[in-house]
């Protein structure tokens, strides 16, 4: 079976005035289709950098990354991806419906299919009352929901979420959690980075822990966290215990 995400010895280094910063160091990771994968790590661990490489926002210094067997450098690889960024925002001068239609057009969907999916997503995200209002008038939660709808317009096989619950109230978090669970039930792959370990514990099948650009642990949630420990303690122990190993080169 072709992995949804296949990362092989991926390294990313930034050149700055103070020298090279290694954001990722030979990261190797494989995500099978149909699972919810939690990508964890402290701030600056390299989670967002990994996601940016997967989406082609920045190039890797070395190594390869593939989405469903296609190199991430090829725009075609993004046909099967939905993405929600860390601080999602949308064109405030468009209405919610216009934004979703635009996203559908960028994926090359037929107009009738776009119309159908836009209506379904507007209903699913509970934005029927505001679909024809400009996004400028939306609240933060509504913006998050319209951006999520935009990420789902192509009915993606792989959904990449960069800290999707950051800044959301408990109700918003619950909505995101429910959405991820329903996507998993439909056989979709969800790859998401998060600091909310309690949520990760609830919904993830596998996790990976990253620190200083290096992979510290990876595996099914049930087997890598020792019995009697919760994820939070395991995460803290793993990151602090192996800081020396993960120190930047």
């Amino acid at each position: 079976m072709i992995p949804a995400i296949d990362i092989e010895k991926l390294s990313v280094a930034f050149q700055s005035k103070t020298g090279a910063t290694h954001a990722l160091q030979e990261l190797t990771l494989s995500v099978s289709p149909g699972i919810v994968f939690g990508f964890l790590g402290p701030n600056g661990a390299g989670k967002t950098t990994t996601i940016h490489v997967l989406l082609g926002f920045q190039a890797a210094t070395s190594g390869t990354a593939k989405i469903f067997g296609q190199s991430v450098t090829d725009a075609v690889a993004r046909h099967r991806i939905g993405y929600l960024s860390e601080n999602p925002d949308a064109y405030s001068f468009l209405t919610g419906r216009e934004l979703l239609t635009m996203a559908g057009n960028l994926f090359g969907l037929p107009p009738s299919e776009i119309k159908r999916r836009v209506n379904v997503l507007i209903l699913e995200t509970g934005l029927s009352f505001a679909a024809d209002r400009r996004i400028a008038s939306y609240s933060r939660g509504m913006r998050q929901r319209i951006c999520m709808a935009q990420a789902l317009i192509n009915d993606p096989d792989l959904l990449i979420l960069d800290e999707p619950t950051g800044g959301l109230d408990p109700l918003g978090r619950l909505e995101v959690r429910t959405l991820i669970t329903s996507l998993k039930e439909r056989g979709k792959t969800v790859f998401f980075s998060s600091h909310e370990l309690s949520e990760v514990e609830l919904i993830c099948d596998r996790i990976a822990i990253l620190a200083n650009g290096r992979l510290l642990a990876e595996g099914p949630l049930g087997s890598i966290v020792p019995a009697g420990e919760n994820l939070e303690r395991f995460f803290t122990n793993t990151v602090t215990r192996r800081t020396d190993l993960a120190a930047p080169l």
Binding site: F14, T48, T49, H52, L55, G56, F57, Q58, A59, A75, V76, A77, R78, H79, I81, Y83, S85, E86, N87, P88, D89, A90, Y91, S92, F93, L94, E98, M102, A103, N105, L106, F107, G108, R134, C147, Q150, A151, I160
Partner: protein
């Protein structure tokens, strides 16, 4: 092509829903009304000065609109956080550049058409007239000049922030428009390195003066030869392509991280 038109469509909607065009349109209308009501030069029956000042205003406003619209496109995507969702779609960076250019240029041309119609109305009310064929030629050449301006603005904004790109673009286009026609006469008295430098600038910068046939319209000199107009249009296609290729070369491998998004 559909992706290019989709990106352009967003530019159109933004322009229609922003105030820039409406403000410039009101300014042009106010200028024309002022010229018509207050007999500034004591020439009550002559519409030539209205043509002259009106066309100058239309050129300046078209310039401002083209540069402001094209320059803000890419930096604005970064500032408002819409760049990542856009790049995450299966769209190449070339298509983003082409869509942004097409959107900026076409909406500026539409605004320009409104400006020309307003000017034509003003002149007609003042019992003056334009030679329609020359007016069409003037509009066509003006649109072609703005295609280069939009491509140039876009190319500069791929690496500079909005303010820096705007300043550079205004200086470059202004210099090109005002100084390039004077270079041949300056070359007579300049030799050596300075002469070669001037000659280099003469061929490097776009010649916007080629597209300006305001004198023909003001003094009713009639149409320019259509073959010459076609050659100038070809020149516009060439220059626009050069700037768009430069924009793409600069943008295609640009690395986007959270740090360089302001």
């Amino acid at each position: 092509m559909r992706q290019i038109i989709t990106v352009a469509h967003v530019v159109w909607l933004e322009m229609i829903r922003r105030k820039d065009f409406y403000i410039l349109f009101i300014l042009l209308s106010a200028l024309l009304i002022w010229l018509m009501i207050f007999d500034v030069f004591g020439l009550t029956t002559v519409s030539g000065y209205i043509k002259d000042l009106g066309l100058l205003a239309v050129w300046i406003m078209g310039w401002i609109l083209a540069l402001n619209t094209s320059i803000r496109q890419l930096p604005q995507e970064e500032q408002r956080g819409t760049l990542f969702p856009l790049l995450a779609k299966p769209i190449s960076r070339l298509n983003i550049i082409l869509g942004k250019w097409l959107g900026s240029w076409s909406i500026t041309c539409l605004a320009l058409l409104c400006f020309y119609i307003t000017l034509w109305l003003g002149i007609t009310i003042k019992e003056g007239r334009f030679d329609y064929a020359t007016l069409c030629q003037g509009f066509l050449l003006h649109c072609a000049a703005l295609a280069i301006v939009c491509a140039m603005g876009l190319a500069l904004s791929t690496r500079m922030n909005r303010d820096a790109a705007a300043t550079t673009a205004y200086v470059l286009t202004g210099t090109a428009f005002l100084m390039l026609p004077k270079i041949p006469s300056m070359l007579i008295h300049t030799q050596g390195v300075a002469g070669a430098l001037l000659l280099g600038l003469y061929y490097l910068f776009p010649h916007f003066e080629l597209f300006d046939i305001r004198h023909r319209l003001v003094h009713d000199w009639g149409c320019a030869p259509w073959l010459t107009v076609c050659e100038i249009l070809l020149y516009a296609v060439l220059m626009t392509s050069v700037f768009l290729i430069l924009a793409w070369l600069s943008y295609r491998n640009r690395r986007f991280t959270r740090e360089n998004l302001t």
